[in-house]
Structure formats: structure tokens, C-alpha cells
Symmetry: C2
DNA sequence: ATCCACTTGCTTGTTGACAACAAGTATATA
DNA sequence: TATATACTTGTTGTCAACAAGCAAGTGGAT
């Protein structure tokens, strides 16, 4: 009944902006932890506020609603991934961009499994109608498909990808493949040899898109 | 406040078993409809009971809990798919089993989109920890991977699949690919040309696994 | 620099919805 | 007619959402 007596852990003499930034970070971290431990259903706004060292009401106050908080978390993590990807890509285009993006994704999974896990817990839960994360998942994956399609078109233009494939179809498959592997891995991580999976995927991309094969496979 | 006065739509002179069978079917149907309309969060047990023509309490009484009902639904739909798959497969083995299964899955999506949708709404939501559907999703996908792996090993044995691939890796990719496509399609159905996707997938399977290519791609 | 009005961050009180369960009623079965 | 089984209604605790309040920071006037 009595609520936490020690609130605002580091609230002594801070600017308003600093206060908000601190509580924001603490709440997003707490939210991510709780999502990883208990999933979307098992996580309560009260628990997030309290684990972050604040009151049960702060999460609701700050993010408006449960799905508001989830949107914030998915945005944050999505941004972290986008930054890494762009850094890895540099000026690459065509087939090499496709391969580099797949490599970067694999490294992101290995280095920041927590990020990938929450992001996809939210995105996969987002297939259900009515969810607000659905829009973000849709936008995010559509953007990935558009990127891949652009790279494929560049590759065709540059002559390092065969020209008898539908860029949009192959781009969708590229993204779907990565999403699918991520899903299976989330379900049953220890049973999935991610390294082998990644290596094989790269081989498939090169083998199937590379120009020299165009006469043989179709 | 007053609850539905017209209950038990067709309850006149029925056997106990018939009563249960009727209410069970009505509730599962109602559950599927509501899941498709409102997702897992938006669906309430009371709404299911009432849409099925019974009281708000029947769903809880029959299935024990919300996740109990969801497990029942996913089992039911899963069984429908398994039946169709086995029928399509017949005695096929090796590469042809892989292709036939992919064909059967594509046809199932086209013919019974509602089934595929609910099943995957539940399975994708199941990646979150704590959910009870998680176990079923895990078991189901593991079984699919095992099947695919068996077919690949048969194909290698029979000589219609190249022998320099790791069956487990390729089997996981096969299943992951289909799951990924399903996910993207659930997110953004109108933007996905499933027919093209399917055709291309079949080509990739044949192109990448067929024995004649083994000397060229690796 | 100091005080005061105001804004912003955060907490506590409350309501309605819902899952879960307990206790009851009605319908079939032996 | 007695008992088991299908189903309904009453109730409790939890949680999201909101409203009202408290406390800490901010900016202008003196």
C-alpha cells in the first residue's frame, strides 16, 4: 500500500532537461529489460516506473499509454540499428551493399542481442491487428525492402547482378529471409547456428544474383 | 447489466457430447474471428463467449484461461494445415518433397488465408517470453525443420540434391524463408505479390539445391 | 542577487475493463 | 429420482488510463 519512499534517485540539483533525460533513459532501459523478461503482456507500466526508480505512474504520464512506450522503445532501438547499418554501408552499392547489410545485421545480432530481441518481440507482436506498433513494423520493413530493391537495381545497372530478376520480388525475399531467421532464432536460439546460417545466406545471395550464373539457373 | 436473454441457440434436445461439440466449434470460430479483427490484446474472453451465442463466462470455463483458448485455436488450425500437407506430399521425398511442401503452403495461404493469419498472429506473438503459445510455436517450427532436413538428406541419398550442404542449415533456412514471407505478407498483404514470391522461391530451391549446380556455385 | 509567478516533472487517488475463480442454475444421463 | 455435466452469474484482484495534486526548476521584475 505505501509507495516507494526513496524516489528520484539522482534528482539533486538538476536542470529540467537533465531530469527528463535521466528518467527517460532509466524508463526505456527498464522497459527493455522487462520486455525481455516477461514479454509485452507480462510487462506493466507500474513495474517499469518502479524498476526505473520512480513511481508507478511515471511511465503512463510520460508515454501516455503502454503502446506509446513500446513505440518509443522500438524507435530507439531501430535508430541504433539504422546508424550501424549506414556506417557499415559507406558508399557501397549493388551486390556489395546487399552482402554488407547482411553482414552488418549478423554482427548486430551477435553484439547487441538484447536490442534485436526487443525490437523483434515488438515487431512480431505487431502483426496482430489493432496494435500501434504495427505501423512502425510495416514502415520499417517496407523501408528495408525499398533499400534492398534499390541496391538490386544498382547492381543490375552496374552489371554485377543478373538482369532477368524482378528487383522487388528478390528484395522482399531478402528481407523476409532475414526476418524469418530472426524469428526462428528468437524462438529457439540454442538450436540455431547463426554463423552457419549467415554464411550460407551470403553464398545464396552471391550464387543466385551474380551475373555469371544467369545463363545456368533459369 | 442484464446479460443476454437468448442463450444456447440450438440447445433443444441434444446429447451432452453434441452440446459441447456445438459450443466448442462456435467458440473457436468466434475466437478466430475476434483474433483477426482485434488481435490477441483486443480480444476478450467475454466477447468470445457472447459472440458464440453463450454467456460471458463460458470461454473461461471451457478453456481455463485466455492462453488456454489460444493454444486450442492454434492446435486446431495447425492440424488443418498438417492434414493438407500430408495429403499433398503423398509418398514424395527428397527435392520433390521440398517443392511440394512449398507449393502446398502457397495454396493453403491462398485458399485459407484466415487460418494462416490467425495461426501466425498467435505464433509470432509467441516469440515473447512468458507466453504459453511459445512452446507450441517452437515445437511446430522445429518439426517443420526436422521434416525439411529429412527430405534434404533423402535427396542427397537419392542423388537429386548436392551433397556439399549442411542439411540442418538449409532446412532451417527453408522454414525461416517461408515464415519470413508470411510475416511480411501479414504486415502488408496488398504490397506483396505472393505468387511471384512463391515462384521465385521454388526457383531458388531448385537452383541452389539441385545436384547439377554443385560444381558451379560453391 | 532575491523574491515571486509560472511552468514542468513527478506522484497519488480513482475508475472501468478484464481474467480468473467460486458458487449457483439448468439440462442430460443412469 | 439422483447425479453428473453444461452453462451462467457473482465476485475479486490486477492493470491501463486519467485526474488532481505536490515538488522542483525557470524566468522576469525589482
Amino acid at each position: 500500500m505505501t509507495e516507494n519512499p526513496v524516489l528520484n534517485p539522482g534528482a539533486s540539483s538538476k536542470t529540467q532537461a537533465e531530469r527528463t533525460a535521466a528518467s527517460d533513459k532509466a524508463m526505456l532501459d527498464a522497459g527493455i529489460s522487462l520486455l525481455l523478461e516477461r514479454g509485452t503482456e507480462g510487462t506493466t507500466l507500474a513495474a517499469i516506473g518502479e524498476r526505473a526508480g520512480y513511481s508507478r505512474g511515471l511511465a503512463t504520464y510520460r508515454y501516455g499509454s503502454k503502446s506509446g512506450l513500446f513505440q518509443e522503445i522500438s524507435n530507439t532501438v531501430q535508430r541504433r540499428w539504422a546508424d550501424r547499418l549506414n556506417q557499415a554501408l559507406g558508399a557501397r552499392r549493388g551486390l556489395e551493399a546487399l552482402v554488407t547489410a547482411a553482414d552488418a545485421y549478423y554482427e548486430f545480432i551477435v553484439q547487441s542481442p538484447r536490442d534485436i530481441r526487443v525490437l523483434h518481440i515488438l515487431y512480431f507482436a505487431g502483426v496482430a491487428p489493432g496494435g500501434d506498433v504495427r505501423k512502425q513494423a510495416k514502415t520499417s520493413f517496407q523501408a528495408q525492402i525499398d533499400d534492398a530493391q534499390r541496391w538490386i537495381e544498382q547492381g543490375i545497372e552496374d552489371g554485377d547482378i543478373r538482369d532477368d530478376l524482378a528487383p522487388n520480388t528478390v528484395a522482399t525475399q531478402y528481407v523476409a529471409h532475414l526476418a524469418g531467421i530472426t524469428y526462428i532464432w528468437l524462438l529457439n536460439a540454442p538450436a540455431v547456428d547463426l554463423a552457419a546460417m549467415h554464411q550460407e545466406f551470403i553464398k545464396t545471395i552471391r550464387g543466385r544474383l551474380w551475373r555469371r550464373e544467369s545463363q545456368l539457373t533459369t
